[in-house]
């Protein structure tokens, strides 16, 4: 593994994460119709990407790590897609 990022990068990342936290709370009070949840989850994904890329330093690691991470998300996607293809197409609310 390469040298981890500098202190400045960690602090900048923390500031960005706290900014995104404030943003997600602010956006929740704006009526975006069906897109409030989309906005909230998009911000969560952005925060997760920052944590994985900078704090967990995935870029400096072995390519094998991407296989483990990718496999986890691949099977998560299968679970959600197959399950929701049932729930979303049922007649009940």
């Amino acid at each position: 593994m390469k040298q981890p990022p500098s202190s400045g990068r960690f602090l900048f990342t923390l500031a960005a994460l706290l900014g995104l936290l404030a943003l997600t709370i602010g956006v929740a009070y704006v009526d975006l119709g069906p897109f409030n949840t989309t906005a909230a989850l998009t911000i969560s994904v952005a925060k997760a990407v920052l944590i994985v890329m900078i704090f967990m330093g995935i870029r400096g690691r072995s390519p094998l790590i991407w296989v483990a991470l990718g496999t986890g998300f691949f099977f998560l996607a299968i679970m959600f897609v197959l399950s929701m293809s049932d729930f979303l197409t049922r007649g009940w609310k």
Binding site: M1, Q3, P4, S7, F10, L11, T13, L14, L17, L18, L21, T24, I25, A28, Y29, V30, D31, N36, T37, A40, L41, I43, S44, K47, A48, I51, V52, I54, F55, M56, R61, S62, L64, I65, A68, L69, T71, G72, F73, F75, L76, M79, F80, S83, M84, F87, L88, W92, K93
Partner: protein
């Protein structure tokens, strides 16, 4: 790249291979954790889709100020952990110990705030069970929201507790021995676990506290 100063076990060619095997093992564990939490998120998604109005009403009974504070506490603890991992890499033993203790303290603060929330919700009869109370018409659906709330935050809190205990033990070892100055892999892996726990909360936070807050 191999550091001859780091001892490696008999099954590895060198210390680099040992480090990569250990790191890969932690990421595989985290992949199983994604699926472990994923099942609960799927349950949440299915019920929220079925009862959107009830979930919005129930979410407004959660304590947003405490949830937001806790999110900030966990994000700061993650940054502190990243600094600890770097101290281990640079073989700065005292800095490593203090940064680990600070991370553990932030984890404890998170658990304290969460415990306060649980106490408030318990006294407001929001804990699912015989004494659960929520104004009609959403009583049963709100109970499902709070069942998912206590399950998901509870399982997450168990993860935080395990993290705090491990981080405190590591901090103590860093303070008293030079084990991590010789080999910092374990600190790196503990850091990965802690960041993962942080990421789970990043997704829990809006799904619990911010459902349709605008209406």
């Amino acid at each position: 790249m191999s550091d001859p100063a780091i001892a490696h076990a008999a099954q590895f060619d060198d210390a680099t291979q040992q480090r990569e095997a250990a790191t890969f093992g932690m990421w595989v564990f985290l992949a199983t954790e994604i699926l472990f939490f994923g099942g609960m998120f799927l349950g949440y998604a299915a019920y929220r889709r079925a009862y959107p109005a009830a979930f919005a009403a129930a979410s407004r009974h959660t304590l947003l100020a405490f949830g937001a504070t806790n999110t900030a506490v966990l994000l700061i603890s993650s940054a502190m952990m990243a600094f600890a991992v770097r101290a281990a890499r640079e073989k700065r033993r005292a800095a490593l110990a203090w940064r680990l203790f600070a991370t553990a303290a932030l984890g404890l603060l998170f658990l304290g705030i969460k415990g306060f929330e649980y106490a408030r919700e318990f006294s407001e009869h929001l804990l699912p069970g015989a004494s659960f109370h929520f104004d009609p018409p959403y009583t049963n659906q709100a109970e499902m929201f709070f069942y998912l709330y206590f399950l998901m935050t509870g399982v997450h809190a168990i993860h935080v507790t395990i993290g705090v205990v491990l981080i405190a033990i590591f901090g103590s070892r860093a303070w008293h021995t030079d084990a991590f100055a010789r080999n910092d892999t374990a600190v790196d892996l503990l850091g990965l676990y802690w960041h993962f726990v942080d990421i789970v909360w990043v997704f829990l936070f809006p799904l619990i506290y911010l459902v349709e807050r605008h209406s």
